[in-house]
């Protein structure tokens, strides 16, 4: 059963995360989004969306240190939990798109 519908930006973030190989942290996700959508993306929006996706159960996260030494930078890694769910969303979209052409 579908847990929840995905809003547009959630969809974007989720796809950007998948393109990272199912797992990644904010910096490459933001880079990916900016490159693919051609728009500036506010990190705050991405954090909040990732949190919301986690609440909805689409992703899970853990804290990791980027460098092994003391005082190294910290990152929160997100991973897609249920790929089936995402594909389901894609199917819904494709169904809705089917038969439509640009300009009509």
């Amino acid at each position: 059963m579908a847990k929840d519908y995905l809003k547009e930006f959630e969809h974007h973030v989720l796809l950007a995360l998948l393109r990272q190989g199912h797992e990644g942290y904010s910096v490459p996700i933001i880079a990916e989004l900016e490159e693919r959508t051609g728009r500036d993306v506010a990190p705050a929006a991405v954090y909040i969306t990732l949190r919301r996706l986690e609440q909805k159960g689409f992703v899970e996260s853990e804290l990791r240190s980027a460098e092994p030494q003391e005082g190294g930078r910290e990152r929160r890694y997100f991973a897609v939990t249920d790929r089936e769910q995402v594909w389901e969303a894609r199917r819904v979209y494709m169904n809705l798109w089917e038969g439509l052409e640009e300009g009509r």
Partner: protein
């Protein structure tokens, strides 16, 4: 800049996200720096922080949200509902205020006046009472006085006493002594400035480091080493153009050269109890020695910094022990002396505290009155909005919902009033600043700043609650069916509203009575003060201060020589009748000593008669216009030996020692062992008030100036023409004798007198202004209430008229109610006035603070005010058109 932004983020982010978000943002930032450069990246970072702030803090835009359970969900829904309601109420309140612009402007103005007065006075109160003195750890700063053992006096120290206390005490980290004085600075264009000669401990006690150079050392307290000076920042900038090279160079002070060794930091004010409002510009070291200095010669102010662990009580106990030790060691001079430590702040603020609190009380009453006034306006208005409220409640609005809406409306009004009040306060403070007497300390610190604005916001909200609550509770109590059926005012509602309006009118009248009583007391007292007979000739007497500085005036002979030459020159000026010299002018305070008559024997200092000591030249009484009552005035040669001579005394002294007898021919001597002088009385003169127009004369002795002439003295001359016209000629005369001297403060005695009544004048004017505002508001309040009542009772009056009630009966009915209310207001007001007499007591002069005749007059005045305010609405009620219930025709 970026660190500040990061700090904001650290503050708002939830703990669990803080570190990694900041780290990742840093990473993104670094990427931007590489790609777009530092400046663009900085801008980007700041933009991101703004976004975070908006998203995290503004509800509904994501952010700090934990997973929602059903309760959480409902809580949020409820919260959002409440916010929606508030928003609706706000919009509605704004629309309402715009719907009746005249009404709104009126209320905002009334509140503005009430709040504005409070804001202005509060800003003064805050600077004086709440703000700590501008020194490090100001609570440790104390003023040290010598005092009489039996009662509190503010005696300065003698130098041997000061040196002994400095040696023996264990409570002070620093203990300095100083003598405030005027310095003449510069040889070219010399000017007179306030300054102090001070021991090394004085500036160190204040705990402020110099901005340039250094402070004095103990070594510079020795005669010969003391030719150094420290300047204030303001004086350094003004006189020396802020040249740092001034430090190390020599400047002329009082005719000698002093090396500038330091400049105090910007903003440092040397606050001293003898010249609280003056800017002290120069400090030079004070050279003290025990040799030859008498313990009876008390002239030094003591200032100390307590050690960190020492409390005021411990310090006081230690000083008491020292004082009793000195008393045993030097019984003839110190047996009656005690020591007293007073925190510097209390010392400085103590004298003006009473008047600021009095003004604060007065403005608080004005605001309360404004609240009552606005409340009655809103209450009357709520009568007109009964239909609206009835419709609201029939559509399902609960009572509290309506109360909330009405309260929101009053809050909007009160906030607008708060804004108007702050503006009025700023303007009022500007006007007040020019009126505040100069001797009120710390006036430079009075500003409308954050805390004052917060105060005015708080006041506005409180005001809104006070004046809004009663009308809101009342307005929400509409009886739906009656109103919608068109019944003119349900009985309970109308009765309740009339009662409430009456209550508010009574309150306003009572407050107005209290304020008018205070203002009238102050006014009459002020008039009593300025009408106090002054024996001197206020209009035709000129005074000016001249200071003989430098080594050539070190001997009294040289000073007397100079003065005699000057007096001869000035007396010869055309139009000048008499010219003389004195060391202290009437009214401005002075020096005193203790004397004994020939019958009294010496016991110890502290037991003699406290007597003003004035040194004058022969023509002084004529120049000042002081009448001679017996004997003769002083002439040349009245003091030829050093310890013996002739003096003139005032009436108070003569009557104290020889009541009913002729004092001429009697002798007096100084209360010391041995007496350093003995004098024969050759004349008695009328009393002058030496310590201001409000203090009774005390015994006074006039010595011929041959005995001792001060460096700084006052020139006094009388003239039939305008005395001020002689100032240029006097300046020429002084410059002819010595071009390095300055003639300062040329004033007529009238101006000297005015300067001593400034505080009283200021207080009287302000309270008078508040009382006028209060009276106008109260009158408007009664007028509004009666108009409303008449409008509400048009129907009833019409029926009464139709049934044969006479016009006079109807008029009497309205006036009767007004008089009833005014009488209740008067009774409450009298109680308030009697209670407030405690506060005004220190300002009442030459009359009783609770004079029954005075109060009766006030009550009659108040009744007249109430009747006058009722007149118009009452006449309208009794005219036949309205009596028949016919509304006036509109053209």
């Amino acid at each position: 800049m970026r660190t500040a932004a990061a700090r904001i983020l650290r503050l708002i982010l939830p703990h669990m996200d803080r570190r990694h978000v900041l780290d990742e943002l840093e990473e993104l930032y670094e990427l931007r720096v590489q790609g777009q450069g530092q400046a663009a990246a900085d801008r980007w970072y700041r933009r991101q922080v703004r976004t975070f702030v908006l998203r995290v803090l503004v509800p509904g835009r994501g952010g700090r949200r934990a997973p929602k359970g059903p309760e959480e969900h409902w809580r949020q829904r409820k919260m959002r509902n409440r916010l929606d309601v508030l928003w609706q109420d706000l919009c509605f309140a704004l629309r309402t205020t715009c719907r009746w612009p005249g009404f709104t402007v009126m209320i905002v103005l009334i509140l503005g006046v009430g709040i504005g007065g409070n804001v202005a006075i509060f800003s003064v109160l805050k600077a004086l009472l709440f703000q700590p003195l501008p020194y490090p750890e100001p609570d440790r700063l104390v003023q040290v006085w010598q005092t009489h053992i039996d009662y509190r006096t503010r005696w300065p120290f003698s130098s041997p006493d000061y040196l002994d206390v400095r040696e023996q005490n264990r409570s002070f980290e620093e203990f300095g002594a100083y003598s405030p004085q005027r310095f003449t600075v510069g040889r070219v264009e010399p000017e007179r400035v306030y300054g102090a000669t001070a021991t090394a401990g004085v500036l160190r006690a204040y705990g402020v480091e110099p901005a340039l150079g250094r402070l004095f050392t103990e070594g510079e307290e020795l005669e010969g080493n003391n030719r150094v000076a420290v300047l204030s920042d303001r004086f350094w900038k003004r006189r020396f153009g802020a040249e740092p090279e001034v430090v190390g160079t020599a400047i002329a002070i009082n005719g000698g050269y002093y090396q500038v060794i330091g400049v105090m930091p910007h903003g440092f004010e040397f606050i001293s109890p003898w010249s609280p409002g003056e800017h002290v510009a120069v400090w030079t070291p004070l050279a003290l020695s025990r040799d030859g200095a008498s313990r009876t010669n008390q002239w030094l102010l003591g200032i100390a910094r307590l050690r960190p662990e020492v409390t005021l009580e411990v310090a006081a106990a230690g000083l008491r022990a020292i004082a009793s030790g000195l008393g045993e060691q030097y019984p003839s001079t110190n047996a009656r002396k005690q020591l007293w430590v007073n925190p510097l702040k209390r010392q400085i603020v103590g004298d003006v505290r009473g008047q600021v609190l009095l003004l604060m009380g007065a403005v608080a009453l004005v605001l309360l009155l404004a609240c009552a006034n606005v409340a009655s306006m809103l209450l009357a208005k709520s009568a007109r909005r009964r239909t609206e409220m009835a419709i609201r409640s029939s559509l399902g609005a609960g009572r509290w919902r309506i109360v909330g809406q009405l309260l929101t409306e009053s809050m909007v009004l009160s906030l607008l009033g708060g804004i108007a009040g702050t503006l009025i306060g700023v303007a009022g403070l500007g006007a007040m600043r020019s009126l505040i007497p100069r001797d009120v300390p710390r006036m430079a610190d009075v500003t409308i700043d954050g805390p004052v604005l917060l105060f005015s916001l708080g006041l506005a909200l409180l005001t809104g609650l006070i004046f809004g609550l009663a009308p809101a509770l009342h307005g929400s109590r509409s009886e739906v069916s009656e109103v919608l059926r068109g019944v003119r005012g349900g009985h309970t509602v109308r009765g309740g509203r009339a009662r409430m309006l009456g209550f508010l009118a009574v309150g306003q009248l009572a407050i107005a009575l209290v304020l008018t009583n205070g203002a009238a007391l102050l006014y009459v007292s002020f008039r009593n003060v300025i009408r106090t007979p002054q024996v001197f000739d206020a209009e035709q007497t000129l005074t000016a201060s001249i200071s003989l500085d430098g080594d050539r005036y070190a001997e009294n002979q040289a000073r007397v020589g100079f003065w005699n030459q000057l007096l001869d020159g000035v007396a010869a000026l055309p139009g000048v009748d008499h010219a003389a010299l004195t060391n202290q002018l009437p009214l401005l305070g002075g020096i005193n000593d203790e004397i004994l008559s020939e019958e009294e024997t010496f016991e110890s200092r502290g037991n003699g008669t406290l007597t003003e000591i004035t040194f004058i030249s022969p023509d002084y009484f004529d120049a000042m216009g002081i009448p001679l009552l017996a004997g003769r005035a002083l002439g040349d040669g009245d003091w030829q030996e050093s310890v013996r001579g002739n003096v003139v005394v005032n009436k108070t002294l003569a009557e104290r020692y020889w009541p009913g007898e002729n004092a001429v021919g009697k002798t007096i001597r100084r209360n010391a062992d041995p007496a350093s002088w003995t004098a024969a009385i050759v004349g008695v003169v009328e009393d002058v008030r030496q310590w201001g127009p409000e203090r009774n004369p005390i015994p006074q002795v006039y010595f011929p100036h041959e005995r001792s002439t001060w460096n700084a003295s006052w020139l006094v001359l009388s003239s039939k023409s305008d005395p001020l016209s002689h100032v240029p000629a006097i300046k020429n005369e002084v410059a002819r004798l010595d071009p390095g001297l300055v003639v300062s403060d040329p004033r007529r005695m009238e101006q000297v007198f005015d300067s001593t009544t400034l505080q009283r004048r200021f207080i009287t004017r302000l309270v008078g202004l508040f009382a006028v505002v209060a009276l106008v508001l109260a009158m408007a309040g009664v007028f509004g209430m009666m108009s409303h009542e008449v409008a509400q009772r048009t129907h009833e009056i019409g029926i009464r008229a139709a049934l044969g009630a006479a016009r006079t009966n109807l008029l009497a009915m309205a006036l009767g109610r007004a008089l009833r209310l005014a009488s209740i207001g008067a009774v409450i007001g009298i109680v308030g006035a009697v209670l407030s007499a405690r506060v005004t007591r220190q300002w009442v002069f030459g009359m009783s603070g609770t004079n029954p005749a005075f109060m009766a007059g006030l009550v009659i005045f108040l009744l007249i005010v109430a009747v006058a305010a009722t007149g118009v609405p009452a006449l309208r009620a009794s005219s036949w058109e309205s009596a028949l219930g016919i509304p006036p025709q509109r053209a």
